[in-house]
Each structure stands twice: as C-alpha cells, then as structure tokens.
C-alpha cells in the first residue's frame, strides 16, 4: 500500500524494537508496527531515544473506530534523519477504551489526545488535562465513533455507492457529445410545472 516516501518498513522497526523491549511488538506490516497497548509509552520512548530511528517529533496522533475495537495511530518523525515511523496501538475495549498517554514522551500529544478523547472517547491515563477539547462537558457521546448515530453492529456508516452515480455519468457522456437527450429515457414524474395536477 502507499507508504510515505521516507516511511520505514514496519518489519525492520519491529525487529529492532522487539529485540530491545521483548514482548512490546504484537504485529508488524510493511507500513506500521503494532505495539502492546499497555506498553505504548515504553515503545515511544525507545523509538524517540534510539539513534537508529531518532523519532524526535510526534507529528500526528489520531484514532480509528473499527466497530469492535479502536486503533490509535502515531506518526513519528525524525527531523535529522528525515524518516517516518508509524506506530499503532489496538484498544480492545470498545465500551470504555483507555490507553497510556504519550504526553510524558511527547509534549505535542497534549491537545491531540484531548481531541481523540473528545471525539472518540478514548481516555488517556497520565494525561495532565484529560478534558473535552471542542465540545461542551455535557455533550452526549463521542461523535466520531461509528455507532454515534445509532448504526447497528454489522452495518457501516458511509457511502456504499455514490447516490447519483448513474445520473452523473449520463450527464458527463451527454456533455462529451456521445449521447443526446433523445437517447435518454424519460424520467418518471416530469418537471415541476407539469407535475402540479
């Protein structure tokens, strides 16, 4: 899949991280390395301090709701070596998710973790200021969760199909001169002017 131009291979990170901190790595793909959620601080601190990876900056922290669990994604950046490391932590508890905070390692996590808590409802332990960021304190629920609008398990929110896909393709072909309006079937209902009876 499309990795960034300077993104490191997850297998390589997993090999080095796993050797230094046994039991931390749970899975690795070409793009990212997955770490045990309770040891995420150790893993981030090791990556930050390691000479080989030098992940000095937390450039992005966000979360993805996968219906049964959450994925928290950390994009780490080495400014000196110009390379990117992607770390993920799986939060298995979908009802009351929580994860150790990255703030003791990266101060840049302060507002990003508050945003994730506000919109996804993942609590970060050891965070100095775990409050909502955008929404008011009494707001019901966490809107970026997939079940926020009451969509049942097994269903997905989001478009399965572009609503006017056929209509739009037809208009485009007409504009390109391939079709004329005579070729098009009459639409049921007619125009507003004739539909008033």
């Amino acid at each position: 899949m499309p990795a960034g131009p300077h993104q490191l291979d997850g297998h390589r990170i997993a090999a080095r991280l796993g050797a230094a901190l046994p039991g931390v790595v749970t899975r690795a793909t070409q793009e990212w390395v997955e770490v045990a959620p309770e040891r995420v601080q150790d893993a981030l601190r090791w990556l930050r301090d390691s000479e080989e990876f030098d992940a000095a900056q937390l450039s992005n922290l966000t979360a993805v709701d996968r219906h049964t669990h959450f994925e928290v994604v950390y994009h780490l950046q080495s400014l000196d070596l110009n390379q990117q490391v992607v770390v993920k932590a799986i939060v298995a508890d979908h009802e009351a998710p929580s994860l150790p905070s990255a703030y003791p390692v990266y101060k840049g996590a302060l507002l990003q973790e508050r945003e994730v808590y506000d919109l996804m409802g993942i609590r970060f332990a050891d965070h100095p200021d775990m409050r909502r960021l955008f929404l008011w304190e009494g707001f019901p629920g966490h809107p970026l969760r997939k079940d926020f609008l009451g969509i049942g398990h097994g269903q997905t929110s989001g478009l399965q199909r572009f609503p006017n896909e056929d209509l739009a393709n037809r208009d485009r072909m007409m504009n390109a001169g391939n079709l004329t309006s005579q070729d098009m079937p009459r639409e049921a209902g007619g125009s507003m002017a004739s539909g008033g009876h």
Partner: protein, 367 residues
C-alpha cells in the same frame, strides 16, 4: 490591615481582536503577570471529519477550504495529494506546476495576514496590516480570475486542477511578481527598524529548538527556533524538487524570529513562482477520474508544507466511494501545545504577541 493579592480571572475572547477569531483564553492574573492560562476552543467546530465519512473524496475538497480559511489552496492541495497517493492517480505536469504557483501565492497571502495581524497585536494599529493587504488583495484577484472565488477557492481536483488560468492571468501575475520584492522591502522598512516593534518582539515568547520539536511545532514556529525543517525540501511533492529556494530559519526562537522567517519565506515564494512560470509546460491540466472514485482499501498519511506548517491528511479507505476515516492534522491546533508554558510567568501584552506569532486560524483549530 493586611493586603491580600487575590488572583484575578480575565476572559479574553471569544470575540477579541487579539484572538484572531472565535477563540477564548481564560487567564488567571496576578497584577500584570499571567499565573495560569486555559484555552477554550470549539466555537467553530463543524465536525468536518464526521461529515467527510458520508461524502465522496471530491465532495470533501470544499470542506478543506473552510478548515484553514486563510490558506484554502494549501488545504486543497494536501487532500488531493493524499487521495491521489491512495488511489494511484497520476497528475499531468502542467497541473503540478499550477499547483505550486497557487500554493505559493497562497503562502504569500497567508503570511501577509499573519505578519500584519502580529504587528497589529504589537500595537502598530492598522497601517502595516493594510500595506500588506494591498498585495494580498491582488493575489485574491488572481484567484478570482482563475476559479471565481477569493477565499474558498475549491480549485484543486483529484488528478489536477479545476481550470487552466485565463490568458489575462499571466500578465497580471508577472506584474505582481515584478513589484513584490520592492513591496516586501517596504513592509520590512515599516516594521523591522521600529524600536517599539523590536522592544515588543525581541526575546519575547522564546521557544527552544528542543521544546519546539518535542511539542510538535511545525512551520514558521519551528523554523523560528532554528530547525531547518520544511516538507518542500524534506519530502518534495509536486515539482518542488525542481525549484531552487532556501529555507530561512531564526536563531533565538522569539516572536521577532518567527516574524522574520515569514517575511523571508515570502521572498522565497516569489522566487519559486518565477521559476515555475518559466518552466511550466503546455498540456492538460487535469486527468479524468471516475466520479465515484473508489481507492483500494488501505490508509495514507499525506502532508504538505502549508503556510502554518505540516498540514496532514490521514485518510483510511474501505473501498467504498466515501472515506472510512478522514483526519486533518491541523497545524494551528498543534502549534498551541506549548502556549500555556510560554504564557505562564510573562506579562499579558507579551502573551498576546506570542500568541499572534504562532499564527492561529480558528477554522483550522476547530474544523
């Protein structure tokens, strides 16, 4: 009788000139010195990331105009590059050059706004701001000529740009490029030699390089602290690898350095646009993509160097026409990570200038 110093709680905003938008600071004061600071944001939250999950990739481009409304072109570019990498869409060469030209014009316009309001925060009421707005106005006219809009441009498309600029665009651009260097000197002469401006900005709001990196600062806020990090050099996108330009950095990490970094970047942007105009080839400005673009399942973190720094789009696709997750890494929000540390212990007017030098856009913070 004894005197007790009770802390005084001061609300700045949500409607206040120095907060640059609907942004509220709750400050605990001891006399003129700040003892604690809390920022309250969200007045402009429009839940773009949730809305994006119900719309196609192309339908999401106009939302990004309204995120950072002072840098719509950069936002358009960021989301298009991310989705193009996810879906494997090729971009014609002419479109890449047009993207560079418009992104750099946007940077000049945005830095004019940032520096103008910063000078305004420092007490030079409206004069320098209006001088800088004069050229910003001409840039917005160029945008209007090309895509019909001045701020919410919605100009970039997945696979290219929406329109080729009209014939009258090129002479107008050339005229602007010819006069820009003298205009930038004029801004500098208005402000930089002013003793009051130096007193208000030198050694104020100092951020060390180590703090800036650890606090996830990006853009001029990071470069002002002396870290030469620019994504146009580090991960060249579009045709930036063919452009010859420098990355200005500061030395002390104070408000003055951040101001000067923006001013120098404006000069570099003019140079980049000149080179792009000289090199731009003829050809199509857009590749045709399916109306319901379905990128293969996967994820991408695409980023560009916007006027405020690293502007990232983390997009997860599940193979349907709408993204499964659409996260905007907003530089304005994350640059505020160190605001409390910067403000505690300094006087209120200095904190206002320090906030101004971080160049926040509330639409980008709240999304």
């Amino acid at each position: 009788m004894t005197t007790v110093n009770e802390p005084y709680v001061l609300n700045i905003g949500p409607q206040h000139p120095s907060t640059h938008g609907v942004f509220r600071l709750r400050v605990v004061m001891d006399g003129e010195v700040i003892r604690d600071l809390d920022m309250i944001v969200g007045y402009l939250h429009r839940s773009m990331e949730k809305l994006a999950e119900e719309r196609t990739y192309t339908q999401n481009i106009p939302f990004t105009d309204r995120a950072d409304y002072l840098a719509a072109m950069s936002n358009n570019l960021g989301v298009c590059l991310a989705v193009e990498r996810l879906a494997g869409v090729e971009v014609p060469e002419r479109a890449s050059y047009l993207r560079v030209i418009f992104a750099e014009l946007q940077r000049i316009a945005s830095h004019a706004m940032a520096n103008g309001t910063l000078v305004s925060d420092a007490g030079a009421w409206q004069t320098p701001l209006l001088y800088m707005f004069r050229e910003r106005e001409k840039i917005l006219d160029l945008f209007e000529m090309t895509c019909g809009a001045r701020l919410t441009t919605n100009y970039m498309r997945i696979g290219g740009v929406a329109f080729d600029p009209p014939p009258e665009f090129w002479p107008a651009l050339q005229e602007l490029l010819d006069e820009m260097p003298a205009r930038i000197d004029e801004y500098a002469s208005l402000v930089v030699d002013s003793e009051i401006f130096l007193a208000r900005t030198r050694n104020v709001g100092v951020i060390s390089a180590a703090d800036a990196i650890n606090g996830s600062l990006v853009g001029p806020a990071l470069r002002g602290s002396g870290v030469p990090w620019d994504l146009r050099k580090a991960e060249p996108y579009c045709v930036y690898d063919r452009m010859n330009f420098e990355v200005p950095v500061g030395r002390h990490g104070d408000v003055y350095d951040r101001f000067m970094v923006r001013l120098e970047e404006t000069r570099q942007s003019v140079e980049i646009i000149k080179q792009a105009v000289a090199q731009i080839p003829d050809g199509p400005h857009k590749t045709d993509i399916p109306l319901a673009l379905r990128p293969p399942p996967g994820e991408v973190y695409g980023r560009v160097e916007g006027p405020r720094g690293e502007l990232g789009f983390y997009v997860v696709s599940d193979g349907t026409p709408a993204p499964y997750r659409f996260h905007i890494r907003a530089p304005s929000l994350i640059n505020l990570s160190l605001l409390r540390e910067m403000a505690v212990g300094v006087s209120l007017p200095d904190a206002v200038v320090a906030l101004g030098s971080l160049d926040i856009v509330v639409g980008d913070i709240d999304r």
